[in-house]
């Protein structure tokens, strides 16, 4: 480790330049999760859009209702609901697959005691 990496920035905390490495890793996670989410979201978006435009009225009303629910509820509440709906599953699954890169926040707010 060179001198620049151990230099302490005096900005109220003992934040070190070496910590930027961890932030960089987290940024990569953010990019990966965003690209995956937008890709999967676009795939389903095209299918749902096609159904809404072409299929019969009952199906579109039902689909609209479901999509409306997802749009009208805060994402953080949806994440907590998904997380708590599968209590057996969550111990085995990685946080990554629950669409969130700030894993610790989610574990704290949803009452989880264990880390990812």
């Amino acid at each position: 480790m060179d001198n620049s990496a151990t230099q302490v920035i005096s900005f109220f905390t003992a934040f070190r330049l070496a910590d930027l490495w961890y932030l960089g890793q987290a940024a990569i996670n953010t990019i990966i999760i965003s690209v995956l989410a937008i890709s999967i979201g676009s795939f389903f978006g095209v299918i749902f859009g096609w159904i809404l435009a072409e299929f019969n009225r009952y199906l579109t009303v039902l689909l609209n209702l479901i999509l409306d629910v997802f749009r009208s509820i805060p994402l953080i509440i949806q994440l907590i609901l998904f997380y708590n709906f599968f209590p057996d599953y969550r111990s085995a699954a990685k946080t990554f697959y629950r669409r969130h890169d700030c894993a610790d926040d989610l574990y704290v707010i949803s009452g989880g005691a264990s880390g990812p």
Binding site: S72, I73, P74, I76, I77, L81, N84, I109, G111
Partner: protein, 219 residues
């Protein structure tokens, strides 16, 4: 799945959740009103001839639109706290949401201003109106008509984003739900009812905005 649902603790506290829903609506509407005023100012600043005003507006808009709302709330909460400025959770959420709303609405308003033909301004001025009269009587009414639906979207967005208040200790709907859920450990049940309350709030807002829009923009 061996989970047993227990709804009674949730229904016992339903009045508290509904009261917290009102708090959510209050903070969202207040943040929206502040956001509209600031957004209008930022839009005008961004279109002005002064370079410094343009830079201030561009800086605000870029930060508001390109950083997560959570980070903006943390700035008003923990960031200002590091400088000895301690705000209440309500003010943290209000300032954070207003900052975010202003950034998004500024671009919406700028689009609205651009959509009003410049010839109307010149026509109004040639009729003897002052610049203020031209803006208040000719331009802004048309801009509000154009941006009305995007503004409604932003209000819905504001309601949804207010849920982040739970992470800075604000007891709005999500914060209250978190507080009650961890007292009883009926987390799924509480958050499911909260999700329904959010859905109802959003539907009420959309319904009211549709009624108001129909009344305001009949012609």
């Amino acid at each position: 799945m061996d989970y047993n649902f227990h709804w009674r603790p949730v229904f016992r506290k339903l009045d508290q959740l509904i009261a917290a829903g009102w708090v959510t609506m209050e903070v969202a509407v207040l943040a929206m009103l502040v956001g509209i005023v600031l957004g209008l100012l930022l839009a005008l600043m961004k279109m002005s001839n002064s370079r410094s005003l343009r830079w201030v507006a561009v800086g605000w808009i870029e930060i508001a639109r390109n950083t997560p709302a959570l980070l903006q709330l943390f700035f008003f909460g923990f960031g200002l706290g590091a400088f000895g400025i301690h705000l209440s959770p309500f003010l943290i959420v209000l300032f954070g949401l207003s900052f975010n709303n202003a950034g998004y609405l500024a671009e919406t308003f700028r689009g609205g201003f651009s959509a009003v033909p410049h010839t109307q301004l010149r026509a109004a001025r040639s009729l003897g109106m002052t610049a203020t009269q031209t803006y208040l009587r000719i331009v802004i009414p048309q801009v509000f008509r154009i941006v009305y639906h995007p503004m409604t979207n932003q209000l819905v967005w504001s309601v949804l984003m207010s849920s982040l208040g739970m992470l800075v200790g604000f007891r709005e709907l999500s914060g209250e739900t978190q507080f009650l859920a961890f007292k009883t450990f009926r987390i799924f049940e509480y958050f499911l009812i909260t999700a329904i309350i959010y859905y109802v709030i959003v539907k009420i807002i959309l319904g009211l905005s549709w009624l108001i829009g129909r009344r305001l923009f009949r012609y």
